[in-house]
């Protein structure tokens, strides 16, 4: 323990050198900028910066990369909240309540709880990384495909809480997402599915294209067709630009719960950052004292998922640094960066290159502080961005959407998909279909299918394997409870009232 503290202090001595602070700042700014753009994530940015940093000391390079990693998360939530346009998959849940809050004139509070929550969870996640990493890393070897499958089934329960007003419409959106997710080559057998003979569809429909089309394009078409011609302030700032005492009271528990959910799942090799945000949203909605506010801008629904997202990002560094095992695209690029410097992450790195490693960990703390300092004053500025006349906001959104879709692979097919799925997004808004279930289906469907089939392949087709481990059985049991408990409680209450009457 003392040992770790000493090492960490030495790390801070490295991270706080002016040159490294400068790189941290550059990384944070760059990360925030790319987080705003859909489709351009930290993995791509770091990959493209790899050659540039050959001239920079490894400490500085990794400190900058850490800034990009965290900065992208901060940036991604900003567009989610203000424009209902998530910059990356981890901010989809943030958009649901966050954008409602912005519409009610509480955009500043949403941005603030998201920034502070990100800071709290990022710091807690980094603390856990500092002190618990080797222990948590063992989880990677314990989780098998059946456990992941159970975790994904549990995540599917989050669909139930974003269903909207009608179950049929909610499920339609979910199955639409599942159906899109089956397009492309099946990795387990190499068979192509639903590609209609087009090469462009063999790799499936990219998540970014669907995200951009359903949110940004669908929203643009819808608002254009139904705008009120009356000019006026776009999002009136009601109730001050800051979090109220009540906002604080309602935010701090979701922050902590989000961090608690995000970090361990993020540190699993197949965990990712999306599942924690789904689960956190579900938990907050179930635990909230004001569930009726969900769907209309409940601050807990922003605080929880944002915290989970950032803690998960700290989590993905656990298997990377302790085992040399990359679990996400970003981690894989970071691994390549280590190898560029002739370094190999893993237990040996702690022994051979403690300066670099602890400098990196210390810079995660520093980066979080920088991002908080950057983002809180920016809240006011971001909100003011919305005072730009509406034609220019939506014109800009469409250019951003084009950048995300076209920049991905300069594919004409992607442009066509953007147009088509954008129209579906428009129709969904006209007839009140919820958007989030489609994205949940698209993200979780393929993952759940892969894990299920892996589990069955290893067990040679024995289905009992799905409840064969304590983890899988427990997670599935919780999933069943989450779905049916509200019905049972409602029935129980009903019975109580009847007996009273």
């Amino acid at each position: 323990m003392m040992d770790i503290l000493q090492q960490l202090l030495a790390g801070f001595a490295i991270a706080l050198q002016p040159i490294n602070l400068f790189w941290a700042l550059v990384g944070c700014l760059l990360g925030t900028a790319i987080g705003v753009l859909p489709g351009i994530g930290p993995a791509l940015t770091i990959a493209l910066l790899l050659p540039v940093t050959a001239q920079v000391a490894p400490e500085s390079a990794f400190i900058m990369f850490a800034g990009i990693l965290y900065g992208a998360l901060y940036g991604g939530s900003t567009t989610s909240i203000l424009l209902n346009m998530p910059g990356e998959s981890g901010s989809v849940m943030t958009a649901i309540e966050g954008n409602r809050m912005a519409r009610n004139g509480r955009g500043a509070a949403a941005l603030a709880t998201s920034a502070i929550g990100s800071f709290v969870a990022g710091t807690l996640g980094t603390l856990a990384l500092t002190f618990l990493a080797p222990t948590i890393a063992e989880l990677a070897f314990i989780f098998g495909p059946e456990d992941y499958f159970a975790l994904m089934i549990l995540s599917f329960t989050s669909v139930a809480v974003v269903m909207g007003t009608s179950r049929v419409r909610g499920f339609t959106a979910l199955f639409f997402g599942l159906a899109l997710g089956t397009i492309g080559i099946d990795t387990q057998t190499g068979q192509s599915r639903m590609t209609f003979g087009t090469l462009e569809l063999l790799d499936g429909i990219s998540f970014t294209v669907v995200l951009v089309s359903l949110f940004a394009v669908g929203e643009t078409l819808y608002v254009a067709s139904r705008q009120t011609r009356a000019a006026g302030v776009v999002y009136p700032l009601k109730g001050g630009a800051w979090m109220t005492r009540e906002d604080w009271k309602r935010s701090w528990k979701p922050w902590l719960r989000g961090a608690l959910i995000g970090f361990p799942i993020g540190s699993l090799p197949a965990g990712g950052t999306e599942i924690p945000t789904f689960l956190s949203y579900t938990v907050e909605r179930r635990l909230s004292e004001k569930p009726e506010e969900f769907g209309n801008g409940a601050i807990e629904g922003v605080a929880g998922p944002e915290a989970a997202n950032n803690a998960a990002a700290a989590g993905i560094l656990v298997p990377l640094l302790t085992l040399g095992l990359p679990s996400t695209a970003t981690a894989a690029v970071l691994l390549a960066a280590f190898q560029n410097y002739g370094l190999q992450p893993g237990p040996l790195l702690f022994a051979t290159n403690p300066g670099l490693l602890w400098g990196l960990i210390a810079s995660l703390f520093v980066g979080n502080v920088i991002l908080l300092i950057l983002n809180l004053p920016l809240v006011g500025m971001w909100v003011r961005l919305l005072l730009i006349p509406r034609p220019y906001i939506y014109g800009g959104i469409v250019i951003f959407a084009l950048v995300g879709v076209w920049g991905l692979s300069t594919s004409w097919m992607d442009l066509l998909l953007m147009c088509g799925i954008g129209l579906i997004g428009y129709v969904a808004r006209v007839y009140d279909f919820p958007i989030a279930p489609a994205l949940i289906g698209l993200i979780l469907g393929p993952q759940a299918e892969i894990q299920l089939r892996r589990a069955l392949a290893v067990s040679q087709g024995d289905w009992s394997v799905l409840v064969g481990t304590p983890i899988a059985a427990t997670l599935l049991a919780i999933a069943v409870l989450v779905i049916f408990l509200p019905f049972l409680v409602a029935r129980f209450r009903g019975a109580m009232q009847e007996s009273k009457a």
Partner: protein
Amino acid sequence: MLKKSFLTGVIALAFSAGLAAAEPAKVLIPANPGGGWDGAGRETMAAFNKSGVFTDGVSFTNKGGAAGTIGLAEFVRTAEGDDNALLVTGVIMVGGVISNKTPVSLDNTTPLARMTNEYNAIAVPADSPIKTPQDFLAALKADPGALSVGGGSAGGVDHVLLALLAKQAGAPVDKINFVSFSGGEILASLGGGKIKAAISGASEFRDFAKSGRIRLIAVTGPTRVEGLDVPTLKESGIPIEIGNWRGFVGAPGMSEAGRKTWLDRFEKLHASDVWKEALKAHGWEDAYLAGDEFKAFIKAEESNWTTALKDVGILK
């Protein structure tokens, strides 16, 4: 007035000089930024520049998808007769052309040079009873279904290697239990004993093996991998050699002079120290093979892969 005309003159001069001096290479990378092909393409061109072999500049276009066959089709369509157009290629594209049954293939291009190779390794959990390649074959023959083997995507190098091993063992190829993974998950599954064995790039396993959770039992190159005390399949009496090679091809209808120029450049690059350093830095094996020999090699790979993909049931 004088100042203005002077400025225009300078700009015009710079512009014409730019046009005259540089015939930059146009490199098409058939994958999205950040992947293996992207790295191979960009690093090779950087080495060209650094070694002074080719310094006229380069522009990259990424066109990913469908195992590189979308990029290949685009290249064949747009680059015809362009002596400065290059396409990054590799074994994955050979497999993609066959399994996706695309109308264009590498035969439509002008093969220039194979530059690198990344050989595979077979690994088992540290406590596995399988200790040698022969043990592996025996286990495969005894009960192919019970030996779940992880690897990359179905129809890729890892899958084909397992099929070749099954053939060698005399086990039915359609009964092998290949489990597809992507990313680092395969290492955790193998280390945790969820799967019985795994096939992946030797460099991906190498450092993880040092943690003592997994054991490498064979590599698939012609010689041992430097710094790894692991036998090749050939040493163990199994005549299989397979790897993830990458190289460059030129446009369809490339002029003979253009082909000569580029072959000369690749040869010079291969001889340079800069290239040797680049190989080392990225863990690539030197696999230099140029011109007609490379062309013949591609032909041989195409027929090998057709057989292998039929065996594993990807190609009907």
